[in-house]
Symmetry: D2
Subunit: 346 residues, 4 copies
């Protein structure tokens, strides 16, 4: 039984980690870390857990945690994991960081986009970017996994085959993304009140959103050249779900069947990536509560562009589900262990 | 492996049955019956099932079904199960009927409230009313289980201990219930369009809703006398969830602790009924996607009344989940097999 | 032109006051008071007002306000108006208080239910309870109008004719009310975040909600005897709207036509109260954005009860609209001036 | 008093026309045309109109209508207006067509994208494309006004100044649009049920949506050259509102101030187009219920692109509001008559 500690257990991603691990046959949560709710019963903070989780919330003592658990999930604001981790801890325990601290290899890029000083740049190189479908081989031996961002996972998996095969102009990529509100976290902010979010859609972080360099870096590895994109996130009045609509110029004429074969090449054996049937657009409702990413594409011969689309549940494949998937890889379990939830509809 | 046939597999309750049984270790769906979608791939009707269910939809041939499956779930409009069932079928296969056809023992009451002629009144007596927490002993040997209504399950479980113990005046009970929109089904009706349901709340079926006599009959058994209630359902702009707020006159002064002890007497050993802590009101979000019913109460000394509250997921404990729970009982499995989903939030 | 000052202009009710008065032919806002946003442009707080309102937010200096405006609306937390008002101010300016400070005539009741000490009990007696349809004659000469609560307005107008005519047992009244989330205000609280409110319904303040004594007092005047009710509010995932479903025991057998005649007696000449056609239930969507209250009833011969229902927009007739209606009465304008907005759907 | 006839009065756009004209000082609806609800009271179909509109629904007899009204609004499916209009009717009455029949000047393009044969191509040339801010001079003398599409209005007004001034490459334009569900109409379709739309976002009509050629044609006039765009609409779980996020390559380096000056050049004197302050993104909630379009832009120096954004209420400026604005122009009224509703929030 893998002993799990969660730092940030009372955020939405933290609660989803609890939901998944409670149902995981080979893991159990033994530490519910939460700065805001220390000594409160976890089930008083998240009443869905009433009579399921009896424990109280604890603090963020990573040294102590390292002695008591096998793996630590840090579902915390940027900067925290970077400030807590050290060599001694990494020698004792696996860390799967759901924040951005170890996602970006270039520390200057990180510090510029996030506006904070990185506290542990010495671990950036060894950290494995935990996009399972692409990096699972490296993840197997990782001490420190940088769990990808929600927008990033959806964007990269939607676009990756086309970039990897060199079929689109990497300078022409535009990612227009839409997210449910759980991505904004459980902080008490006016902007996230029901009456502010409901009956509204808006773009935010236009040209400046922090997931931009993360997408660019990973797609750059696939392209073998620098990638610059436009990334525009939008807030949608729903709880869960990310939809990506990405546009790029095709480098040459291609048919549906050719592109379909390319997507299948990368994803046919991936349980959690579903390449939809022709002309079926991904929708967030069909993946809700599950670890699936649904992807598809449409070629526009009039404009010479391809529209690539993807949908996932931001709290599962975009956060906690992928983190558990990474845990499974790190500990040598079947990758889908505890992650076979069927999407719930409606 | 229990072979399951579903008639009405493409309604919302049908889809939830599929979701639950796909994840059930001891059962599998072998017949996806759907009058409207015969020969279409099930996963084209419910794309959450893409790459999970490969089968096509079939018809409603109950004779053939009786030879091919161990249990038939009928998630169909009122009257259909009653018109299909017969002695030969019941000798071959278990039937769990999610419609109202066999819930009400008095056929005249059924025909009056539902406005249809009952086609198989000869089976009403033997049918077991499958409210598991109350009738599980009888269900074990049933050939035909009448799966309770969604409002009914929530109403009865909220009120039952007080009626059973004779603490409230059974003539004074008022049930004000609120339901998500999935309870209205997947039929294409203007009244259920997004723009009609959203940003709205309304009562409907005031004094005439068909769950009224079902609640009255069952509470009458508990009370040992006739029960007449007011039952008012409301449509709420959400997908899943039923909340019941019930009012009754207390027959004598009671304390919180006394009433709490009574609720615990009936529910302490029930996995799926959670009696909440003092002053915590049930909320539908905390049971979403799960088979739980959360109940609680509040005594009002000023008016001499008690307010009894309950929340459940109408598609799970109010329909498919309870049906699977009944299947487990009928087939001698642990009652919670395949039903241990943790409520999903948000 | 009536000069209007608003204290609490940046709450939801305050913003609705601005919306209504901007469109009012005989009034204009000259003071946008807001403790939280002093010196910020009002249109930066509420961008719907961009290029419509150019003013900046000011403070709560009621003495200065009294010299500069003709009427002050206080859309503020309980206790503030009571702490600011004095004889000198009341001699200079009309006050319409949207808080509860002057609604309840019995100061002990106020202090018990609200848990605060009343600062100006000397003005309670002269304050007029501004439920226009019932108290408009008194309001004409008022210096201080206590604008009724949102739940209260809906509850009283739904029940009033039956109580006034002595047709129901005033001890048997149960009010089950449902409200949109704007009623919870614009404060940054976790409980009001989109992800907490959406896909959920819950009761709150069960047996303890502060609108209870307000309803009891006003219905008591109508009944000519003490009234004790059960009042249970619920939070619904929508922005605007209150629906009341009220239950009471009929004192004698009555027909639909008899009761309809009674409702018409009180409301036929009321522009803002619409008694719906037989069997039509009030729905919040049909009054959204308007000053209407839709009411109707249903007699249940089985149980000897009547179900009385009402729907209004909590921000309009439940707050700002009724406040403007009171202003119109106080200043001798046509009561519907600036209040003839047609309900907006969808 | 302008006598107004509406064909299609019981659709969402039709109901909004009624709402606006009921409040219009110089116009009145005298004909509520509705194929589906003939002889039913209009207020029974839309209960917001109870005690406001007493008339019953009538049919679609355009010849009779032409004798009885001054202007006909056709808020009907594509093809209907084209099949009803003729020279005699146009000599008697103004027609403002909310369908697409007369929007596209090239009849082949119309027939290709809409898949229907045009019944009155002889009137296409004289029809004025009623995008008021751009074509008001031509509209003054029009007999037949083609009221623009909802997506189209938002897209064109967001992009127009940049195309007109030649600052962006017209071949590089990508329009990613998001719409509330009222745009899908009031037809009873499974796809538009609450449970299907809620908690979901999806693209639809990818590369094939019919508003594409309309945008291309109008932007082509502004550019003085052919324009080909990618246009991708999305369905958002909200009632009203369209948000456009458009991307294009800048032809040369420009500063914020330069671009702002260009937007101001075209819109400073337009009451219904609000160019927002720097870095403020349009949001649909700030225009709800009003005739405003909020626009803004953001320059991305990294990629050399500009992101142009716009928000409007699809039922008002995207349909009924613009239609009334066109009526005002045609009849020589102040353009904003009856259209000064302040956006409603929340």
């Amino acid at each position: 039984m893998i002993k799990v500690g969660i730092i940030g257990a009372t955020g939405y991603a933290g609660n989803e980690l609890v939901r998944l691990i409670v149902q995981h046959p080979d893991a159990e949560v033994v530490w519910y870390g939460s700065r805001s709710y220390i000594d409160e019963r976890y089930a008083d903070v998240y009443r869905n857990m009433f009579e399921i989780v009896d424990e109280k919330c604890l603090g963020e003592d990573m040294d102590r945690l390292a002695n008591e658990v096998d793996v630590i999930f840090t579902a915390t604001p940027q900067g925290l994991c970077g400030s807590l981790v050290n060599e001694e801890i990494l020698n004792k325990v696996k860390i799967i960081d759901l924040s951005a601290d170890f996602r970006i290899k270039d520390v200057e890029t990180y510090e510029k986009w996030y506006g904070i000083k990185h506290k542990s740049p010495q671990f950036i190189k060894e950290a494995v970017y935990g996009l399972c479908e692409i990096n699972r081989d490296k993840t197997k031996d990782a001490r420190l996994v940088a769990n990808p961002g929600c927008y990033t996972t959806c964007s990269i998996l939607s676009i990756y085959p086309m970039v990897k095969e060199g079929l689109i102009d990497p300078k022409s990529i535009i990612v227009d993304a839409k997210s449910g509100t759980s991505g904004a976290g459980r902080g008490a902010k006016v902007a996230n009140l029901f009456c502010e979010v409901n009956e509204n859609i808006k773009a935010y972080g236009v040209t400046t959103h922090r997931h931009t360099p993360e997408i660019e870096e990973q797609l750059g590895y696939a392209a073998g050249e620098e990638v610059l994109i436009n990334f525009t996130p939008h807030l949608v009045p729903m709880q869960r779900g990310i939809l990506v609509t990405a546009y790029a110029n095709l480098k040459k004429d291609v048919t549906y069947d050719e592109v379909k074969a390319i997507y299948d090449k990368y994803y046919k054996n991936e349980q959690f990536v579903r390449v939809l049937d022709k002309d079926v657009c991904p929708e967030t409702r069909w993946v809700e509560g599950s670890n699936y990413v649904d992807v598809n594409f449409k070629i526009d011969e009039r404009t010479g562009r391809i529209i690539m689309m993807g949908a996932l549940d931001n709290v599962v494949k975009g956060a906690a589900g992928q983190a558990v998937q990474n845990m499974n890889i790190v500990f040598g379990l079947e990758e889908n262990t505890g992650l076979q939830q069927v999407p719930m509809f409606p």
